[in-house]
């Protein structure tokens, strides 16, 4: 078992990393429910090792460079990330829109790469953003390629965690939607932010499972129109990437496939 002070240190690290703003020692101690002197000792440990840093001209703290580095190192465990970069860039160049890569971890999908167009763009995605497999088109196109028994396991997980499904959805409706997405070779959605739309295309690896998905995000509807030439072009690019993955299936296998998905739970 970890000793109490180390546990407190990690608890404080999580508080600083999940806060919406920089925090001072007193506020951190209050949120961690520990005396200020205890918080202070943990914060020295975190600061000296680069996990938190102090803002200029302030006594408040923010996540340090080590936290960003570790989260990015995690994303790099997926070999598909490095291999997909030229393809994502090709799509961004062709569409002038932000392109992202999602992979599976447990019953979630997580965004591990973002390529933005050179011009300033409005992006609603961020690196390490994660969603359950029924939430959003980037997750759903991965779920659409799961074997039926795994989808059933997923529903059991959602029920056991008391996670609400979208209103009006029954298991059967979700299954129908997944089948439609698999048949079409893509999934689309309104992002719920202004006119922002997304379209997700699966990267199909060994057999028929999707090891990842590529999502194109933008405010213009030209890519998301079903007969769009640009959409066909983007699907073609992702198919090329899928072919590369299929040739080296073991190299691109999920590095966390051995982890029981039921044990992958996030605090947020």
């Amino acid at each position: 078992m970890a000793n109490k002070s180390t546990k407190q240190t990690f608890s404080i690290l999580r508080i600083i990393c999940s806060a919406r703003e920089a925090l001072g020692v007193a506020e951190i101690a209050r949120r961690a429910e520990v005396p200020a002197s205890t918080a202070h000792r943990s914060m020295i440990a975190l600061e000296t090792t680069g996990y938190i840093s102090k803002l200029d001209n302030s006594s408040k703290f923010v996540p340090g460079k080590m936290t960003a580095q570790l989260a990015r190192a995690f994303c790099e465990r997926y070999t598909i990330r490095a291999a997909s970069m030229p393809y994502l860039r090709q799509i961004t160049t062709a569409t002038d829109k932000t392109t992202t890569l999602n992979v599976r971890i447990g019953w979630y999908s997580v965004c591990i790469a973002i390529i933005e167009p050179p011009q300033e763009s409005f992006d609603a995605r961020w690196l390490t953003e994660r969603h359950l497999l029924h939430e959003g088109c980037a997750s759903q196109v991965i779920a659409a390629h799961l074997p039926t028994r795994e989808i059933k396991d997923y529903f059991d997980f959602v029920r056991s965690q008391k996670i609400p499904m979208p209103s009006g959805w029954q298991d059967t409706e979700f299954l129908k939607q997944l089948k439609r997405q698999k048949r079409n070779g893509y999934a689309k959605e309104d992002a719920g932010v202004g006119d922002l739309k997304r379209i997700a295309i699966p990267i199909v690896g060994d057999g028929t499972e999707a090891i990842a998905s590529v999502t194109i995000e933008g405010v213009e509807p030209d890519v998301s129109a079903p007969r769009s030439e640009k959409l066909k072009h983007c699907i073609g690019i992702v198919k090329e990437l899928s072919a590369t993955v299929q040739e080296n299936a073991s190299f691109f296998s999920n590095p966390f496939a051995h982890i029981d998905p039921e044990t992958v739970l996030f605090n947020d």
């Binding site: 970890a2 999940s18 020295i44 090792t49 840093s53 960003a68 570790l70 970069m85």
Partner: protein
Amino acid sequence: MTSGSTLNPSHVNKSSVNVLKVLSVFAQHNAEFGVADISRKLDISKNMAFRALKTLVEEGFLVRDASGSRYILGFRMLELLNPDFDDPDIQTLCREFMQKMHAVSGLTVALQIPVGFSHITIDGIESRRGKVLARVVRGISVPLHVSPGSRAILSFLKDEEIDSYIQQHQPLEAYTENTITDPEKLWDDIKLVRDSGYALGYQDHFLGVNGVAFPVLDIEQRPHGAITVVGPIEVISHEKFMLLIPQLKKIADELNSVTRFYHASPIFSHV
């Protein structure tokens, strides 16, 4: 921007520091380690390494790999990246490695970034042996074919970008008698830099100094910038300089295993 601490380091929680140091070892490309690796890397006992790894597994920051014998980063790591805060800038990422290069060489170390068709120096550590041996002059624009820093950056642009640079800057300006101004010779040097992973100085920017520059690259091998190590020829001969390069290159490789996590900005998009 972040700055110096107001916290009192004499009150540090040492057991936490040890566990955090073990976790930090995993902040590089494809890191996977066993107990013995951690013990060796951090010079701690195997028992201590094992206890730290066990704690990190309990916290979800590490998991065992598929073979069960080694540890890799765990999914709880995802909770540590907060989109409300900016990524560290290239200067912050490079600083610790520049200090290591300075410690190894005793020479002046400078960080250069590409800006359009030039590089500018944005940070540096000056060599001081009684007096400053080579100054770090920030903010001066130097063309991409002049100096090892420039050529380390130029060499990792796309071939068509390099062609475009050469065409737009014909005839290539000479800063000293050693500046490479012949496009064919420049291409030969670019191939050399790509193969070796560093650009040698030929006294092509200033006479009287030996220098070497290492590219700082992203995941697609695009340049964030370059780190140049430089010293006057009276202080370090070419032969002694060459002996230093393997040690400096090792530090540059460590740095690149971190900077690859961050995208380099497109260089010519605003030109």
